[in-house]
């Protein structure tokens, strides 16, 4: 019989080594998969990992794709550390895009430096408002925030649909579901000419640094960790749980809303029925891949973004079907989680040893 036994000590080196290890394992298993499917493994891997990064445009696109993932994951990670499970970032993103985008449409045809900042504030507030519902229900009535935030995602997407087929629909659009294009003053400026890398990427970088500082250098960060890992001790120390619920969901919601706003004012340029291809859900994976650490989220966001770009590129240059590129992306996560389990547990064959049961390691 094979059992998983918790390790007494978790090697801190291994915790940081597992992600690169998972990438290497994915490359090996991917090569075998591609070979079995009849694709040249070297060419396929090149298409996945190297080709997207081999031009300035490709690097800029990596930034475009990674920006919303990093921004959302950074916000979610704070909540996840505190044990607040906000699964509804996709809905908060949508509401942020709607609220901020609406402000942009109000100033349609006008110019002014104040328009973009106003849109950003509205975007953050939109995401926060949507996250406030699960926060209120959780803090007041202890309603499960996982279910509430997840279900509100679908409500949010339907709200977007109702508005884009209704009041937000462009009068010049022949009845098609799209808003007007934002005026130049309501669009994020591009950082590098000829690419789509926008100001949102820089703002995201600044926010990541701020969150990192908050988490590692302030009492607030300490409280988050204590509440997440030892709720009883936190209560004893007088840390307010409901305050933490509110802060967690407001950070997750606000940053998701901002990410949604960046999408509509950046690469998309208008409100459309599909604002995000599931960034709010993918960001949950990014947050955990990044070890719930702001800087880890940056690396994980870049890696996941690269896997998307690589998947598209492999379809184009190698002729690989999307299903295969999806399997490859899935393998990456599988190896990461598997390596994670093996870092925390050891495989034992035979009957359980009657030894002392070691205390379970932290996150």
């Amino acid at each position: 019989m094979v059992r998983l036994e918790p390790r007494a000590e978790i090697s801190p080196v291994m915790r940081w080594l597992t992600p690169p290890l998972a990438v290497i394992l994915t490359i090996i298993a991917g090569a075998i998969l591609f070979l079995a499917m009849g694709y040249d493994p070297a060419r396929s891997l090149r298409a996945f990992f190297i080709a997207p990064l081999s031009s300035a445009y490709g690097l800029a696109e990596l930034g475009v794709k990674a920006t919303p993932l990093i921004l959302i994951a950074t916000g979610l990670a704070v909540g996840f550390r505190a044990g607040v499970w906000n699964i509804g970032a996709e809905g908060q993103l949508t509401l942020g895009a709607l609220a901020g985008g609406y402000v942009g449409l109000l100033f349609w045809g006008q110019a002014g430096w104040f328009i973009l900042p106003l849109m950003m504030i509205a975007g953050v507030l939109g995401g926060m408002a949507w996250a406030a519902i699960p926060a209120f229900l959780k803090a007041k009535f202890d309603v499960n925030e996982i279910l509430v935030s997840l279900m509100l995602t679908y409500v949010g997407l339907l709200l977007l649909s109702a508005l884009i087929y209704g009041p937000l629909r462009s009068p010049e659009g022949f009845g098609f579901p799209e808003s007007r294009m934002f005026s130049p003053s309501a669009q994020l400026p591009n950082l590098i000419a000829g690419t789509r890398l926008h100001l949102g990427a820089v703002i995201t970088g600044v926010i990541v640094l701020i969150v990192w500082f908050l988490m590692s250098r302030t009492l607030f960060g300490f409280q988050v960790t204590v509440i997440g890992q030892a709720p009883a001790a936190a209560r004893f120390a007088g840390f307010s749980r409901s305050r933490m619920i509110w802060i967690s969901l407001m950070m997750g919601g606000g940053l998701s809303g901002l990410a949604g706003l960046f999408e509509v004012t950046g690469p998309i340029g208008q409100i459309v029925p599909t604002i995000s291809p599931g960034y709010g859900f993918t960001a949950i994976i990014v947050a955990f891949l990044g070890r719930l650490h702001p800087l880890g989220c940056v690396l994980a966001g870049l890696l996941v973004a690269l896997s998307y770009l690589g998947g598209e590129n492999a379809q184009i240059t190698v002729g690989m079907p999307q299903a295969v590129t999806g399997v490859f992306q899935g393998m990456l996560l599988f190896f990461l989680l598997a390596a994670d389990v093996l870092v925390r547990y050891r495989l034992r064959v035979g009957k359980p040893a009657p030894a002392l049961i070691p205390t379970r390691g932290g996150r």
Binding site: S55, Y57, E61, V64, K65, L158, S161, A162, Y165, G166, F174, G175, F176, P177, E178, M181, R196, E263, G266, P267, I268, G269, Q270, V272, P273, T274, I275, S276, P277, Y308, L309, E312, N313, Q315, I316, T317, G319, P321, Q322, A323
Partner: protein, 360 residues
């Protein structure tokens, strides 16, 4: 070492560049890219575009090389996918969903040497044409058949999104059915998706529970047809021949046949005769056709349906010819007047007899 290698690479590159025009003219295939909104295996909209792509390969052989990207999200990703296709050397790119419009237009502006064609949109440029299939022609015949075959008089319409194309087709079905009987009731349910087999099947079930006995769908999977087959009601296939998913239920299907159009347009670019246009392809242009009508349909009904189809094809009959009234009973199109394409392109009203308001 590094410098030697890069010097070597530079020499190689210069050599290749010098050779390029020669080899291009000699045996480089003409590269055509496709951007799909769904999976090629949807058995509907995207499947048919991919059939058109395969028709290109068959027609041109080695002279043309095609590439496609499937399941492309209609948002920030579209532009990058198009750009990647351009970078990969595609000289002509077809983008086959409305939501790709602005990204396609942006790329057309940035790459004036690449020829773009966008399905179902309204933005054109010197190197960007638009094309669509006038499915309402087939829908009208479907409506006629539904009116003939229904016992309850209730026709179900699984609608995707309230855009002009879908509204046009709902109206065409209603007009076709009203040509047969006065008591038609259309049960319209909005799926809010183009492709979601589970939801489509669920809607079909709800419709049948409400007494619908002919289901027409404007969504792309064959799921509704399978439900119709199981529950013993009629259904019309969408975009592709779906007979194999419900041999008893399948009355006919309104098939989009993109192959001839794609072949013609690629040939035009290769010949240097390509010009931008806004193309509406119907039965006469071989873009729309009906699959053979189910043998269970009485022969005289099938014959009459084919006669209507023939009259649409030869232009002697247009489904949107007045008098047409809106839901309030007001005449919108006077007797003898036929709606123009421009009017049809923005159709945002239901014809008389349809109950319920347009989602707005």
């Amino acid at each position: 070492m590094t410098s030697r290698r890069s010097l070597f690479a530079a020499t190689l590159f210069a050599g290749a560049a010098a050779l390029a025009p020669v080899s291009l003219a000699a045996d480089e295939p003409f590269k055509v890219g496709f951007v799909y909104v769904g999976p090629v295996g949807d058995h509907g909209w995207t499947y048919q575009h991919d059939q058109g792509r395969l028709a290109l390969e068959e027609h041109f052989g080695d002279a043309v090389e095609t590439t496609f990207v499937e399941n492309v999200s209609e948002g920030a990703d579209t532009e990058r996918v198009i750009r990647q296709l351009v970078d990969a050397g595609n000289e002509m790119i077809f983008t086959t969903s409305f939501g790709f419009m602005n990204a396609t237009a942006n790329m057309a502006e940035q790459f004036p040497d690449v020829t773009f064609e966008h399905a179902t949109g309204y933005r054109q440029a010197d190197n960007l044409a638009t094309y669509l299939s006038v499915t309402y022609q087939g829908r009208y015949v479907s409506g006629f058949l539904a009116g003939e075959l229904s016992e309850t008089g209730k026709i179900g319409y699984i609608a995707s999104f309230p855009i002009p194309e879908v509204i046009r087709d709902i109206n065409a079905v209603m007009l076709g059915a009203q040509a047969v009987r006065d008591d038609v009731e259309m049960v319209i349910i909005w799926a809010n998706t183009w492709y979601d087999p589970a939801r489509e099947a669920e809607i079909a079930g709800v419709m049948i529970d409400q007494g619908v006995d002919v289901i027409i769908q404007h969504t792309d999977s064959p799921a509704a047809l399978q439900v119709a087959e199981e529950r013993g009601v009629w259904a019309v296939g969408q975009a592709s021949d779906m007979t194999r998913f419900g041999p008893t239920a399948h009355i006919t299907a309104v098939v989009n046949d993109w192959g001839p159009y794609y072949v013609e347009r690629v040939q035009a670019v290769m010949d240097g005769t390509w010009e931008s246009h806004d193309f509406w392809g119907g039965m006469a242009e071989d873009v729309i056709r009906l699959t053979p009508i189910n043998e269970r349909v009485p022969a005289d009904v099938a014959e009459e349906a084919m006669a209507i189809a023939a009259s649409i094809e030869d232009g002697s009959f247009h489904p949107f010819t007045g008098p047409l009234k809106n839901q309030a009973g007001e005449v919108v199109v006077p007797e003898g007047v036929t709606m123009t394409n421009a009017e049809l392109a923005g159709m945002d009203w239901y014809v008389e007899g349809i109950t319920g308001a347009l989602p707005n």
